[in-house]
């Protein structure tokens, strides 16, 4: 699955901000037709994003997505019909509450892909839960559609719907966050967290990103390019994690070769969770284009520093 550590929102009616959107290093960009565009500009924004998608090059490694308006609004349907093109990689559906909300988009998407002669199913979907009802339906929604590759939460609207308050410890949406990641992983898709709106507070961003990473989230949305580096630092495996994972993998491969049922690394037993974790670390490192050292080079390095593994 794709690396989606960072997802940068780009206001959809702002011509100046669209061409450079792919230059900041974000894994995903979301050209926004929804909350950052006021109703009288929805048509302007839709046409602007649609035209931009035809000619602007966002870079080979960037996932180009659009956050459309909900289908329940007068705009959503026209958004989809207008923006579907070969450069579009994904669509984010806001305010999802039921499987219907996703499946209707899926159908319309298929219709447009057919109409425009594009590969059916190439454009992926992402659902955002912003209400209590949506969160509680996350389990069903997460598994309802083949195109759905990730789910996210919209903290601002969700907190309002709950009647709660936003706070730096995120207590209001704590359970919602966990439910979303549970739903995502049960369905085998990704979970992406909401934005951290104070883009001057890098420490706060880092803390929050570390927390959600520990929960199992795969990425985080951002509203300002300066946030991307911090988010990537948190999500990227460290050199130590990578080296350890290489050693684990080697131990597993060695054990297989010798037909040994018991796998050990030094004094520690390698059981399934550790093995899975190592695989994920290496997959993330590889996707992030971080060089993975060979087992031999790690062995050499350790022998030099402490005299033995």
């Amino acid at each position: 699955m794709r690396l989606r550590r960072s997802r940068l929102y780009v206001p959809g009616n702002n011509p100046k901000m669209i061409p450079p959107a792919g230059l900041y290093g974000a894994d995903v960009i979301s050209l926004d037709l929804e909350d950052s565009v006021s109703p009288e500009y929805k048509l302007d924004a839709r046409m602007l994003v649609s035209e931009a998608l035809k000619v602007v090059d966002f870079g080979p490694n960037v996932e180009v997505t659009v956050r459309i308006n909900p289908l329940s609004t007068p705009f959503g349907r026209w958004d989809i019909r207008q923006i579907v093109c070969s450069k579009l990689d994904g669509i984010y559906i806001p305010k999802v509450e039921t499987c219907e909300d996703v499946l209707r988009v899926d159908d319309l998407l298929t219709e447009m892909e057919e109409k425009k002669g594009l590969e059916i199913g190439r454009i992926k979907l992402f659902a955002t839960f912003e209400t209590a009802k949506g969160i509680l339906n996350a389990k069903e929604v997460a598994g309802c559609c083949g195109r759905l590759e990730g789910i996210t939460i919209g903290a601002e609207d969700l907190t309002a719907d709950l009647g709660g308050e936003r706070s730096s410890d995120g207590i209001a949406i704590h359970t919602s966050r966990q439910l979303v990641v549970l739903a995502a992983k049960a369905a085998g898709i990704q979970a992406i967290d909401t934005v951290y709106s104070d883009f001057n507070d890098m420490d706060g961003l880092r803390r929050e990103t570390e927390t959600i990473k520990k929960m199992g989230y795969d990425g985080k949305a951002c509203i300002h390019p300066s946030q991307i580096e911090v988010i990537h630092e948190v999500f990227n495996p460290t050199q130590e994690e990578i080296e350890y994972s290489v050693r684990v993998k080697h131990a597993i491969d060695e054990a297989k070769e010798h037909g040994s049922g018991v796998i050990a690394l030094g004094k520690k037993m390698i059981d399934r969770p550790i093995a899975i974790r190592a695989e994920k670390v290496l997959a993330r490192a590889s996707a992030a284009d971080i060089p993975i050292p060979t087992w031999e080079s790690i062995k050499e390095k350790m022998e030099k520093s402490e005299g033995g593994i």
Partner: protein, 548 residues
């Protein structure tokens, strides 16, 4: 001008065989043309007798004493950049005294001089311009084809020195703005309220002009050290109140660009130089003062510290970013062609053992016996356009108007082992990577890599670099592509490049560093919609092209 005979030169540009009776030599390659004459030109001799002072009380007196006449050639340096007051002062005086038909031969010109120069040209005081550059309104005037009878000759820094030494530019009177002078004419640029660090651009002028008049606002007791330009070359010294505006001469605080596009370009330029193997112990490089250049210097500094390597020497366009590298030992020695900020000037004063200045000829003249550009490992340069042949335009904008200097561009590109052009893919509605440059200043044979924010292209002539890229691990976010791909990407966004509305007259000759003609610039006609002539492109280059 339509009766001119044309010939196609070594990069496929049509250039005239002769102009105004003077034969021209077409460009045929970066290292194909050695000097025509085998001796340097020589100025007239002086006679100091037992004079103990060369101070005269007024500029007018100095002009009279050297016997300046109508039709002569006068020269200036541009070390005071947009804070210069010398050129205006002199031209105003010449205008007042009724001089006519002079040839102006500055090393470069700046916006603060435009009004004066334009007035002088329209009034017949100046009728020809040699070398240096033209920008802004002055550039527009040259491009209009009106007022100047013969084409302006545009040269690189090294090329200007070549021309002076060969006598192609015969300077009758060189006016040298000197931040520090003594009564016999020892000059330097390190001390005084208008200190600018170096007066290297006057070095050749001082040696080859028939007469040299120094203008200073800081007369010191004899002898003035250092003797950057020494007394045996200077005829007269004039003391005035102010020769420059210190705030515009040396910046107090040069800042790195904040533009994400430019930062990315600078970062990727460092990364590609590293990937290609040029960032290593003992390396050297040239720095500039434009927005991308400063960022490049800063990122290079960080990388070198990470790798624990040092550079033997570096050359600038010196700013505090380069000085920082000298002070923390990342760079061992610094050579300064021109100083851009106070830190650079202070460093030259405090650290002469490791930081020196160098005459421009020693920096870039190909018809000399050795120049530092030949020893350069890496140079990073800007451009207004780059075309599919890797040729570079820095003289005109895409609309054909003369707007920027050549500076040391073609000199460094020819000499450096790795020449990197750092440019955004497009500027506003102008594509920067184009099919054919409007004007060629630096030939593609001397350009190795083009770095834009959306991709990097390596000149196919450099098979060694392409091979190297096969061998190393190229990070996924460094996108190596062909220049054709970049050009298509640019045209997709901006539309096809609009060709200039060329007129018939030749308004400028682009002379390559060896004296051959690499391209010509024609006049530009007004568009038919209105009679206002030219696009307001003042901001097109903003902070990028501050050097030169």
């Amino acid at each position: 001008m339509n009766e001119l005979e044309w010939v196609v030169n070594g990069i496929g540009r049509k250039v005239p065989k002769s102009i105004d009776g003077k034969e021209l030599i077409p460009y045929s390659g970066p290292f194909s043309h050695s000097p025509v004459k085998d001796h340097k030109y020589g100025p007239i001799l002086g006679y100091v007798a037992d004079q103990k002072s060369e101070i005269v009380s007024t500029l007018f007196e100095a002009i009279q004493k050297v016997g300046l006449k109508d039709g002569m050639t006068i020269s200036f340096h541009h070390h005071f950049r947009n804070g210069d007051m010398v050129m205006n002062m002199v031209i105003d005086e010449l205008e007042k005294e009724g001089f006519k038909d002079l040839t102006l031969a500055p090393s470069s010109t700046f916006p603060c001089q435009e009004e004066t120069i334009i007035r002088a040209i329209k009034g017949g005081v100046i009728r020809k311009v040699e070398g240096g550059s033209a920008r802004g309104e002055f550039g527009r005037l040259v491009s209009s084809g009106k007022y100047l009878d013969s084409p302006m000759v545009i040269r690189s820094h090294g090329g200007r020195v070549r021309a002076i030494e060969a006598g192609d530019i015969h300077i009758d009177v060189a006016f040298i703005g000197a931040p520090c002078a003594d009564e016999l004419g020892n000059l330097n640029a390190l001390n005084g309220p208008s200190a600018c660090g170096t007066i290297n651009f006057s070095y050749a002028d001082a040696r080859f002009a028939d007469h040299v008049i120094a203008i200073t606002d800081n007369l010191v007791e004899y002898p003035a050290f250092p003797m950057s330009i020494s007394q045996e070359l200077v005829d007269y010294v004039v003391v005035v109140d102010k020769i420059g505006d210190p705030n515009k001469i040396a910046s107090g605080e040069l800042r790195i660009t904040k533009s994400p596009t430019r930062l990315k370009i600078a970062k990727d330029a460092v990364r590609i130089a590293d990937l290609l193997g040029y960032v290593k112990e003992g390396m050297n490089f040239q720095a500039g003062a434009g927005g991308i250049s400063l960022a490049f210097t800063e990122f290079l500094h960080q990388l070198m510290k990470e790798k624990g390597i040092t550079a033997h020497w570096a050359q600038g366009g010196t700013t505090r970013f380069l000085v920082d590298m000298l002070e923390d030992g990342t760079v061992k020695k610094l050579i300064t062609g021109q100083a851009f900020d106070v830190a650079a000037i202070e460093s030259m004063k405090e650290n002469p053992k490791n930081h020196v200045d160098l005459p421009i000829g020693a920096y870039a003249n190909i018809h000399g016996k050795g120049c530092t550009v030949n020893k350069l490992d890496i140079v990073v340069l800007g451009a207004s356009e780059v075309d599919l042949g890797y040729n570079v335009n820095t003289a005109t904008l895409s609309n054909g108007i003369i707007a920027e200097p050549v500076g040391g561009h073609s000199d460094t590109a020819a000499g450096a082992a790795l020449t990197i052009i750092t440019v955004p893919l497009f500027r506003g509605r102008y594509p920067v990577v184009v099919e054919n440059c409007t004007t060629v200043v630096t030939p593609g044979e001397t350009v190795d890599v083009v770095v834009t924010e959306r991709g990097i292209a390596v000149n196919p002539r450099r098979e060694d670099l392409l091979e190297r890229l096969e061998e190393v691990r190229v990070p996924r976010d460094l996108r190596i592509c062909t220049l054709e791909e970049l050009q298509r990407m640019a045209y997709d966004i901006t539309g096809t490049k609009v060709e200039p509305n060329w007129g018939d007259d030749i308004v400028a000759l682009i002379e390559y560093r060896d004296g051959t003609i690499i391209d010509v610039v024609r006049s530009v006609l007004p568009r038919y919609y209105d009679d206002a002539v030219f696009v307001d492109d003042r901001n097109l280059f903003d902070i990028e092209r501050r050097e030169n």
